[in-house]
Amino acid sequence: MGVNQADIMKETTVLQAPKKNRTVQKWLKDNMFSSWLNTFFTIALTILLFFLFKVILSWVLFSADWTVVSVHLKLLLAGQYPNAELWRVFLCIFLLSLLTGFSSGIWNGTMTQLGLFFAGLLALCLALPFVSVEAKIWNAASLLVLVCGYFGGKKLPLKKTVLFSWLMLFPVTIFLLSGFGILPKVGTNLWGGFLLTLLLAVVAIVASFPLGVLLALGRRSRLPAIKYFCVCYIEFIRGIPLITILYVAQLMVPLFLGQGIELNNAVRAMIGMTLFSAAYLAENVRGGLQSIPSGQYEASHALGFSTPLMTFFIILPQALRAVIPAMVGQFIAIFKDTTLVTIVGIIDILGMAQNVAKNPTFLGKEMELFLFVAAVFFVFCSMLSYVSRRLERSLGVGER
């Protein structure tokens, strides 16, 4: 495509659009005070916004008592994870920063932005006055390897190693967090706070993706057994609310499993959320599959591609690219839906905020806690949607 454009550029003289005279005064006059009516609205809204911000800011800066957040910061972020074993959580963050650093060096663009975002978060944690010294040292180390990784990634040919490491990161994280007999065991009943929110979301997103793609393909299959199974599954899951699935996963599954098998409740919630998310994702992917013109199928058959080859190298790449916005929307929704686990007695960041608000010493401080939780969610959700926009632009979605 680049070549074509260059050729065209050579042959025709393209007239540049006339440059606008962009001074502040002119912009204001054009956009804010172009007519009497607009002038009136501008002034009225400015006054309204001024008072609104004044109230909000004076509450945030002067009335609110943020000690409730700073005292409980560890609980909100890492739940009841034992303090003595907290280094494992930090080690996970350390490994994550290392990989993010290398990746942002190797793949420019979106990954660099992501690395910057991550570095910003770490720097923010470093700057907060009430964070413990241990956390600060770990965060500083993470920030350091992130920067080192970035420059290392630019120089070293580590593409395959880094990709492999990303795949390994999740099992390693789970191993580190739970211990599995080698390190002291930390039961999932002690996992909580934002750590658990992230784990739930990551598992649901990562595991539901292949499942969703398979279900979408299955629904379009010519084999009735597979097709109707997929249709039944998707329609059944879409017909019941997530909260029902979580309840069944928490309270009914132990009954079905009987005495011998004990699945802990965090894993049960993860399974429930994955199964739920997969059904919705399948419908998103199916939308993408339907957008592929039949010419693509015919052409690939004519070229002698077998069905699996055609599906994985011709159809799916195009289909998935077309539904990136819908999929990211689904992922953001799942990320926020993880807060529902509060109702089944798993303490994620929102549940933790509700719980610590009931500490007699801090009664009546819900607003501060909930604002903090909202801010955390806002930061991560807007990061997700920003990444999705970058991804769309780099893949050229919406330009066809």
């Binding site: 057994a225 719980n355 009664l363």
Partner: protein
């Protein structure tokens, strides 16, 4: 594509087979649970799984260092101390009001200590209620300047209440009986109830009296409010266990009695060593110095000593979480020993 009827039939059969297998497994599994011996499971597991409240000040909540504490939580510790001699051998499962009873029925938790009101219909669904640990009752809070001093004055008032609780039903029952018209304003969660009351959008709000007292201190001007003298319902809060295991039920029951009996004897966690050479045969039996009361329950004979040393007697537990040194400053009232005119009465340890 041509759909052959054979394939459709095949699909249908596969699905129904899957469903049937699922049902079959379910049946056998639930039988197992019903026969399950809770006490054996607890012992082999090495800790008690206790369903608790994680957001009720005074009764069960998280402290700033992330541990559970509260009046109900202390009874979970007492059970662990009795069974294992270690009050910390508890795994806490925070449960919501909706799922708590199901969690006991399915064996998710060994014992539920979550300010649960003992009622007939709850007892009848395969649960057993241990002795009441706290006698509560529903009350109503109003503003002093509203001029309301009794239930009759609430004619036409807007009363905020938490949805889905016995509180809501008690309110309706009481006011229908008295023939008072009122407007219930229903909220999901006590925070919203209190917020609306503070903003003045309702005239009164209602919940258990212990909850009212706990919240009174957090209002902007506690002196501007007061709690009506009428108690409009009985709320005996008690530990709950699955009815499948009579031995486990007995253990939970006698652990609660032990804390009450210890207070009656005047044995506390600080002075228990003085009682170890007591001449009183009742106290000697109680502390396991004579007889085999503990072994009859399947516990160590000195299980009471473990409870008192590690958790304390009923009075100590009460003072620690609800007494004058806490923000609640709840009077013992009916939660006093029978010797002080209260309702706490332990059958003899013999």
């Amino acid at each position: 594509m041509k759909k052959s009827p054979f394939f459709l039939l095949f699909t249908f059969m596969m699905l129904s087979a899957a469903i049937l297998i699922g049902c079959g497994e379910e049946d056998t599994a639930s039988d197992e649970t019903a026969d399950g011996n809770v006490f054996d499971q607890v012992v082999s597991r090495g800790h008690v799984v206790a369903g608790v409240n994680s957001d009720l000040p005074g009764f069960g909540y998280l402290t700033s260092d992330g541990t559970y504490t509260g009046f109900d939580v202390d009874f979970a510790k007492a059970i662990a101390a009795a069974v294992f001699g270690d009050a910390e051998a508890v795994e806490y499962r925070p449960l919501s009001a909706q799922e708590r009873l199901t969690a006991v029925q399915t064996g998710e938790v060994d014992v539920l200590l979550r300010n649960t009101t003992n009622t007939l219909s709850r007892d009848a669904i395969g649960l057993h209620f241990a002795p009441t640990t706290f006698y509560d009752g529903q009350g109503i809070m109003v503003r002093k300047d509203s001029g309301i001093t009794s239930l009759e004055d609430l004619e036409g008032a807007r009363i905020a209440v938490d949805t889905g609780t016995t509180t809501e039903m008690n309110l309706a029952d009481t006011f229908r009986l008295l023939g008072i018209d009122y407007e219930p304003i229903v909220f999901d969660g006590q925070d919203q109830v209190v917020a609306s009351y503070e903003q003045g959008s309702v005239d009164a709000w209602t919940t258990d009296r212990s909850g009212l007292v706990a919240r009174l201190d957090t209002l902007a001007n506690p002196d501007d409010h007061f709690i009506l003298p009428e108690v409009i319902s009985k709320e005996p809060l008690a530990p709950v266990v699955n009815s499948s295991d009579a031995i486990w039920y007995d253990i939970v029951k006698w652990v609660v009695y032990a804390t009450i009996q210890a207070e009656e004897f005047g044995i506390t966690s600080s002075n228990i060593d003085d009682f170890m050479d007591s001449e009183n045969p009742e106290i000697r039996r109680f502390l396991g110095l004579e007889g085999e009361l503990g072994e009859e329950l399947g516990l160590d004979n000195d299980f009471v000593v473990n409870i008192i040393k590690q958790v304390g007697n009923y009075g100590e537990i009460y003072e620690r979480h609800l007494g004058p040194d806490t923000i609640f400053n709840l009077e013992r009232g009916v939660n006093s020993l029978w010797t002080d005119g209260g309702l706490l009465y332990s059958p003899p340890f013999r």
